[in-house]
Symmetry: C2
Subunit: 487 residues, 2 copies
């Protein structure tokens, strides 16, 4: 189904309404639309064509927001890259998605250059996008098709190799409608985006705010004192956080009650500690715990606002349009109360993993996404997430896949075997820990392994603790038993 | 695309939130869901099967609301009938859509009985739906498919024969999302429904409120003093009105300013007089003029809330997801400023007219609905509706098609020829007027023609004025020139 581009439609509806604030700069919807058109013309001048992929490696800011909306003006597919990745990780994703163009800013130029060393046919474009390059005569798209891919967002998986989830324009539109139905959408709304905008939770805010006419305040990076000030200043009605960010914001604000205009704290990124929820709710924060995935363009089950101040530890029922079921290992749908794999169906599901039909077929079966996460439905149909996929460590809101870390560790000549799992961490919820079996006669210290990892994987994935052991727990078939690592 | 039923999903999200108030009775979403399930079991016990059509002939009230949501629980298609129609008009629509079951209440039993006289195989069910008939063991649907038809809503047309617009669940879901993006949707919202719920504008409120979690206050009939009291009482945030209703509400309230919590008066049903808009806005009423059709499941272009207090006489740009274009008689898309036929494309378009492939093909071409209405886009892309289809009279928010009235008049033995058109009316905007050519030597008075019409067509269609003339203005091909009738 074809429809006019969303930012253009909103700029026609409400040209002067506030669209974006970054630092001390503000953009109305008409100004943001102009910025997106300028960026789109520059991209077209640099050879971006309809159907191409456009990789962006930028921190949160107006430039990234303009490019998100410039992509459909060019008929291009956005690939937002994680700015915390190493050049090696970036190169893997760039090779995987083969973009026509990579846009990066000065601060990330080295990583981008290194990442592109093996990709000679990839054009790079350092921002700021020059106005001189924005030729007015280059044709831009006026419409999009809901069935077309809006963005490829990378997520890792059990295999450790990142996979690009292809999310259609329709998935983001539905996600925006669902957010409006669940968290509300009203003139004067302002979302605080202090999560990375390259993650699906941040990206969805950008599409949603344009569709619903809400303003966005984007922080370049998460700073608890800055978020606390922003909340006290007033005007923020909605904010997305993960548990450890919420805790640090509460620490920064002290015992001051929640600002009165704040309608919803959407709390995602893994289970939140009960005492944190109680503390935040005790101060009057409306906390809507939520469950979502990259593969579903963000939330699929969220605690209703009516219960956001109550002592509920479930994440709520499926949002309107979505269905949840709990499945046993042999594929049987389980009744309420019984834990099993969480399967999701709904209009926000990805089209598949880019170029990976086997992984896509394993994840998407009969219209259901099998998440690998473990949960149960209660008698009311509320979802309780019991455990993220057994091999996933959620640390400070970032997903770390042990297989990826293990594979980096095993490249070290002294490492004979390596197992990675999460350990409790008072600040980040979980931290990454490694269990190392050294090769006979070989030696490697924790600092040495730390330095080795930093050249290969993003800093947040590097183990915070190294345990040297004689052997790793393995099952009868030799499969690593990660849950037994700490025992 | 399949998804769980909307009322059930909302009842799981917010069981205790207010869903509906009718008179002094209130229902939460859980209670409304139970009422809908009870009604659905009674309908199933009366033989309603998936795929059947369910006609309802009921005034605004909890029973009608429960049946609207009972229809998808039975997998049935709702056909809401206009309670102001005559038995003859009802019989036409019933023959056209062939429902399995007609539900009506005591007050409308005579009309229903008369209408069914020629339809011996139609079951009738007088409400209230007895609890005794609600067998708990009858299976109900849990999901719907967005591609399936939710409702058949009758609209007349140039030919004078009513046509049933088949509206999918998807059309209503999109309409709800669009309303959330345009008028906002927030916990604590309450829509005042004082328009007939059997019209698409009323019906859309019922679906939308369940999807967005808003409450509805339904008035059994429009009473200006009652609406004025309701607004003063507080709690109403959104209301749909047509111009003449707004005027009467303002008359009833005197010079009191608009209630502070009222976010939007959605003003549809034809162009509104500029002095009425100025008067309402002068009192602080946020008036969002809107353009919509039965065939588009309600609004497709609406003045943005930001401009609802400004002196704007356009109805605004297309809502997100919709596109508008102005087309010349020979099919050319016209530039801004030039008047032509309004064509609409978007996700809320009907699937077609039930059982009328030729009329459907004439109205829906290449995904665009050709409305027959005349309008122009201004430089900003705002739609100005210049004239409803030349043969349509909008009187007090009801659509009257002259051809239907003329055809009733011509059945009178004394009438040789008849032409019907709108005349200005201080209260209803337009009133229905007839120009009559009597047969030679025949006689018929205005009261006699009035009484004759009342047996054949709904009261609001009966001419308020009869002009007896010697001949009617006709073009070279003999076509009646309705615009020349008053000259």
């Amino acid at each position: 189904m074809r429809m006019p581009l969303w930012l253009g439609a909103r700029a026609a509806l409400a040209p002067h309404a506030p669209a974006l604030r970054c630092g001390s700069s503000e953009w109305s919807f008409a100004e943001l639309d102009r910025a997106a058109r300028r960026a789109a013309r520059a991209l077209r001048a640099h050879g971006l064509r309809p159907g191409d992929r456009l990789a962006v490696l930028l921190p949160n800011g107006a430039e990234l927001v303009a490019l998100v909306h410039a992509a459909p003006l060019c008929g291009a597919v956005l690939v937002p890259l994680n700015t915390r990745l190493t050049a090696r990780e970036l190169a893997f994703q760039l090779r995987d998605c083969r973009p026509r163009l990579l846009v990066h800013d000065g601060g990330l130029a080295v990583a981008a250059k290194d990442a592109c060393a093996e990709l000679p046919d990839l054009s790079r474009l350092a921002t700021p996008l020059g106005d001189g390059e924005a030729r007015a005569d280059l044709p831009l798209e006026r419409e999009l098709d809901l069935g077309d891919t809006a963005a490829v967002v990378y997520t890792s998986g059990t295999s450790g190799a990142p996979k690009g989830a292809e999310l259609g324009h329709g998935a983001f539109l539905w996600s925006a409608a669902t957010a409006a139905f669940a968290q509300g959408a009203v003139p004067g709304d302002r979302w605080l985006a202090c999560l990375p905008l390259f993650h699906v939770g941040g990206l969805a805010i950008l599409y949603r705010s344009v569709l619903a006419g809400a303003a966005v305040t984007a922080h370049e990076r998460f700073d608890p004192a800055h978020v606390a000030d922003e909340l006290d200043r007033g005007g923020i009605t909605l904010v997305s956080l993960v548990a450890n960010m919420l805790e640090r914001v509460l620490d920064a604000r002290g015992e001051r009650p929640a600002p009165p205009g704040l309608r919803c704290v959407l709390l995602g990124g893994g289970p939140a500690p009960a005492d944190l929820l109680a503390r935040a709710r005790g101060l009057g924060f409306p906390i809507a715990t939520t469950y979502g995935l990259t593969e579903t363009a963000s939330q699929v089950a969220t605690l209703p606002l009516e219960l956001a101040r109550a002592e509920v530890d479930a994440v709520g029922p499926a949002l309107p349009g979505h269905a949840l079921r709990i499945v046993s290992p042999n594929g049987v749908t389980l009744p309420a109360g019984q834990p099993g794999e969480i399967a999701v169906r709904g209009p926000t599901l990805m089209k598949g993993y880019l170029g990976r039909p086997a992984e896509t077929a394993a994840a998407l079966r009969d219209g259901w996404l099998f998440t690998g996460d473990v949960g149960a439905l209660d008698a009311r149909g509320f979802l309780c997430v019991l455990d993220r996929r057994s091999d996933l460590i959620v640390s400070g809101g970032e997903n770390v896949y042990p297989a990826e870390v293990e594979s980096a560790l095993r490249e070290h000549p002294a490492v004979g075997d390596a197992g990675v799992a999460g350990e409790p961490d008072p600040r980040f919820g979980r931290r990454v820990a490694a269990w190392i079996v050294l090769r006979p006669e070989a030696r490697a210290s924790a600092p040495e392994l730390d330095a080795f990892c930093r050249g290969r994987i993003a800093g947040y994935k590097v183990p915070r603790a190294f345990h040297f052991v004689d052997e790793l727990p393995r099952g009868p078939s030799g499969k690593l038993l990660r849950r037994a690592l700490g025992e």
